[in-house]
């Protein structure tokens, strides 16, 4: 009996082990978020958002089988968001989380990884953000960050060339290391005319994840290049239609790589057109219409080609698991870089230092706040040339109104800049000080300490002329503000925008919190004498 029992036991263990092995090894059904790489794609061109798969979150990319050759991570269109967008907590994205994620994949899954980026690292440098100089420094920082993350390729993008074509190319030259392992800027249809730039700008690059060899190329939209306002752009960069070069580049990559990837810096329609025209490409990376990309790629050529987008603002990554056997299915997962990664943030420490210390130090060193280009406050007539006087001056005649303001968060607006060490960051200073973008407005904490925080004159305009002539009715009527004006003309939304008020800015709720109508009386003759405000 005992004997029988032990044999039974052994048999049972073996059978069970065999069952587990068979189930584990031949479970051909891919995870539900795996898109068949070969064969028909039933949802070609369709939104597959709906059918989310079972997810085990116990490890990064939990749905990916262990025996992959490696993982390709795709990012792009960060458009200046090196950190989660805005200053409100709970936002997604940021390079620190990106590094945290890659480090987790390395340590927990042990896969080889290759990283590529679609470009558009920065926003329009002439837009209302931190200004041209800050955007330049941010671009350098982004290049250093992608070098730190061991990116293989970054697509050349029209958005990044808006720094000035020569400027952008020079930054590639100076900010990317001159060695084989450094990221290469990729553009098949843009040729630099200087040899110097040719060391950084390549028509294609080859990289690998384990045994799988990847060939990566990119094209930029000639129409978008034509739109760049730079008289010297074609002195340094010759751009031709993608169709002139892609057949040759693709044929070259097919000689010695297993997976061919095309990044398209142009409209989504252009990416689809090129994907359909050149079926040799396995993965097409397109720009995104939305911040949030689709949870699954579209498929072309019966599922052979994936059309991948990664959204905007650096909130997402696309992860593609590449099997050792090229005939097996690739696997796709969209990665949301949200706060779940913050508990592992020590793994992003090098990136934290780059973004929170080195970048900020570079901004301070370049004095981007002090040198921000100012403009005249847009009013005419008697108020032309008025300067900012600060809330303490206003208080002299409007003490109750001042106290009302003092009770609002607007009065505390400078504190976060100190707490988060962002006094040198023009993009932050813009909304946390008074009159920053205007002549006579905030210049620095030492030069204009009376203009820290979000004070009276951000809404009413510079007040020196009113302070000097308080009974001038024309001036008074000009600086008076109404709820209707603020609501209709979106004045609050200039700062309380989608990034900084992600859950919505409800004017009707917020206006009463700052409204201060008729809190003071002006019986004291002194308030009618006027104040010669300090310049």
């Amino acid at each position: 009996m005992r004997r029988t029992s032990s044999w039974t036991a052994a048999l049972a263990v073996m059978l069970c082990g065999l069952v587990l092995v068979v189930v584990g090894c031949t479970g051909k059904t891919p995870p539900a978020n795996a898109i068949p790489a070969q064969g028909a794609g039933p949802n070609e061109g369709a939104d597959a958002t709906a059918s989310a798969p079972p997810v085990s979150d116990s490890k990064p990319l939990a749905n990916f089988p262990d025996d992959l050759a490696g993982v390709l991570l795709i990012s792009g269109e960060m458009v200046g968001y090196t950190e989660p967008c805005g200053c409100t907590s709970g936002q997604s994205g940021g390079l620190i989380r990106r590094q945290t994620f890659t480090e987790l994949v390395k340590s927990e899954r042990k896969w080889p990884m290759a990283l590529i980026d679609l470009g558009s690292l920065i926003n329009d440098p002439h837009g209302p953000h931190g200004g041209m100089e800050q955007t330049r420094i941010k671009f350098d920082t982004a290049l250093k960050a992608l070098t730190m993350l061991n990116y293989s390729a970054i697509a050349l993008s029209p958005e990044d060339l808006k720094l000035g074509v020569t400027d952008t190319l020079m930054r590639f030259l100076n900010s990317l290391p001159d060695d084989k392992t450094a990221p290469k800027i990729v553009a098949a249809n843009a040729t630099p005319t200087l040899d110097d730039f040719g060391t950084r700008l390549k028509p294609s690059v080859r990289t690998a994840v384990g045994t799988v060899k990847l060939g990566v190329t990119s094209v930029l939209d000639p129409a978008a290049f034509a739109e760049i306002k730079d008289a010297e752009k074609d002195v340094y960069l010759k751009v031709v239609p993608p169709e002139d070069v892609l057949p040759g580049v693709l044929a070259d990559l097919e000689k010695d790589t297993d997976v061919q990837i095309l990044m398209v810096q142009g409209p989504l329609a252009m990416a689809k057109r090129l994907g359909l025209a050149y079926p040799g490409f396995d993965i097409i990376v397109s720009t995104s219409e939305f911040v949030e990309p689709k949870s699954q790629p579209e498929t072309l050529h019966g599922g052979k080609t994936w059309l991948v987008s990664v959204g905007r603002k650096g909130q997402y990554l696309a992860a593609i698991g590449l099997p050792k056997d090229p005939l097996k299915d690739r696997i796709y997962q969209r990665i949301t870089l949200n706060d779940r990664y913050d508990k592992f943030k020590k793994r992003g420490e090098p990136m934290r230092k780059l973004i929170h210390e080195d970048f900020v130090a570079d901004l301070a060193s370049a004095d981007v706040v002090g040198t921000y280009p100012k403009r005249a406050y847009p009013w005419n007539g008697e108020l032309t040339g008025a300067s900012y006087v600060g809330a303490e001056t206003c208080k002299q005649c409007h003490p109750n109104t001042y106290n009302r303001w003092l009770s609002t968060k607007h009065a505390e607006a400078y504190k976060p800049l100190i707490e988060k060490k962002r006094e040198a960051d023009a993009d932050c200073v813009r909304c946390h000080t008074t009159g920053f973008e205007f002549e006579g407005g905030f210049a620095s904490a030492s030069l204009t300490p009376h203009l820290k925080g979000n004070q009276c004159e951000n809404c009413h305009g510079p007040g020196s002329k009113h302070a000097e002539a308080p009974d001038d009715k024309v001036i008074r009527s000009t600086i008076v503000r109404s709820a209707e004006d603020f609501n209709k003309n979106l004045r609050c939304v200039a700062c309380h925008d989608e990034d900084n008020a992600p859950h919505g800015f409800d004017f009707a709720t917020m206006w009463p919190k700052v409204m201060h109508s008729k809190l003071d009386n002006y019986d004291d003759p002194k308030v009618h004498q006027g104040i010669k405000a300090k310049p």
Partner: protein, 400 residues
């Protein structure tokens, strides 16, 4: 591995009937193998590497429930199309989410890009238990605010207890059509790099979806001397190009930056007032840079945290527009900064010929630690740029 997994394998005895002892051993073996596998997985994902890293390595694991599974049943597709919406409006859609299985489901809110409410949820971290046969409502709200164009927003509901899926992504999509369409949508007029002796024209367009006959009352700028501004009716072909096919009327505003003696970046504003009752005023930023006949790229030599053993190198390009005969030489540089003019070439594009100088700035290895500031001075024979000064901002780390 959870007890549920073990039960599943045990129940998979649709195998031919065996002796009871075999079954016992089979079950025991499954447990042993499962424990061994679980231990292996556990060991594999134990905290590793940095002993000072106190964070655990596991993300919150969606737990599987013991017992029979529940089943998510939706009354319609989880993607709902709102269609066209005006700005400052709110779209709401409600799905009925039923548990059509035999076991309970646990629902919790995952990442979302829109406002998402679930009936009976008390807080963001709340978990709603849905008994078999019961339903709840998932409500997605999208506020268009000042958004312009196509949108897609989603909310994730994490599910525990369904054998087939652990989350459902609900999405809403559509197009927001503002009362006043503006192109560029970002309201930024980018003039780029403009030679200061030249002008450059940038245009923007306006059209109204609900008041095609609106009028522009004024167009002014924060720097009236800097711009010529002209307003014309929006040509039909350009309206088509903008894909404003459902609108009529509209205006095109041409903003021409005038030549100026001023150099450097500018950041002005264009202000449009209209008779549209909802859009009385529109502000667009107008930015760019006026450059002289000579451009230095980059404009500052900035090398921070140089390792003293390695030194540092930065390359600059001095570009002289239409200055084929220009010469350049190094006049002065801060101590420990070596400046060389490495090459001088003539280049031409479709609009301009340039003489370009490649300048190499080197901080030699062995340079003492500290900050190097000051200016590099270059001398040229160009009548409008006899001296070129390049700020230097260099820091060399301590050799320790």
């Amino acid at each position: 591995m959870s007890s549920q997994d073990v039960q599943h394998v045990g129940k998979a005895q649709g195998l031919p009937s065996e002796s009871s002892s075999f079954l016992k051993w089979l079950v025991a073996s499954v447990i042993i193998v499962a424990l061994a596998a679980g231990a292996a997985i556990g060991v594999r994902y134990l905290p590793t590497e940095n002993p000072n890293d106190t964070s655990t390595l596991s993300f919150p694991v969606p737990k599987k429930r013991a017992g029979p599974p529940g089943k998510i049943v939706l009354d319609e597709s989880p993607t709902y199309v709102f269609g066209v919406m005006p700005q400052r409006s709110k779209g709401t859609h409600t799905w009925t989410f039923k548990n059509g299985g035999e076991g309970v489901l646990e629902l919790s809110k995952g990442p979302s890009t829109c406002s998402c409410t679930i009936a009976n949820f008390k807080s963001e971290k709340d978990v709603l238990v849905l008994e078999p046969g019961k339903s709840t409502e998932i409500n997605l709200t999208w506020e268009t605010r000042e958004f312009d164009g196509k949108f897609e927003k989603s909310a994730t509901i994490n599910v525990v207890g369904d054998a087939d899926r652990s989350q459902v992504i609900f999405a809403v999509e559509g197009t927001v059509k503002p009362s006043m369409a503006i192109m560029p949508k970002e309201r930024t007029l980018s003039f780029g790099d403009v030679p200061n002796d030249a002008s450059r024209k940038v245009s923007f367009a306006l059209a109204s979806s609900d008041m095609p006959e609106f009028k522009i009352l004024t167009v002014t700028s924060s720097q009236p001397d800097a711009f010529n501004i002209e307003t014309v009716p929006l040509p039909d072909d350009e309206r088509q190009q903008l894909n404003w096919t459902t609108m009529t009327g509209g205006f095109k505003v041409n903003v021409e930056l005038k030549p100026s003696k001023e150099l450097g970046s500018f950041n002005e504003e264009i202000i449009v007032t209209t008779d549209h009752p909802k859009v009385a005023e529109i502000r667009l930023s107008a930015g760019g840079r006026r450059s002289g006949p000579v451009s230095i790229v980059p404009q500052v030599v900035q090398m921070h945290n140089i390792a003293p053993a390695d030194g540092g190198v930065q390359t600059l390009m001095v570009i002289v527009r239409n200055g084929e005969d220009t010469t350049l030489e190094v006049l002065d540089a801060p101590e420990n900064v070596k400046v060389e003019i490495a090459s001088a070439d003539l280049k031409s594009g479709s609009a301009v010929k340039v003489r370009q100088f490649r300048v190499t700035v080197t901080v030699p290895p062995g340079t003492p630690s500290g900050v190097i500031s000051g200016e590099i001075t270059l001398k040229s024979n160009h009548p409008r740029a006899e001296r070129l000064k390049i700020p230097v901002d260099i820091s060399v780390l301590s050799s320790n």
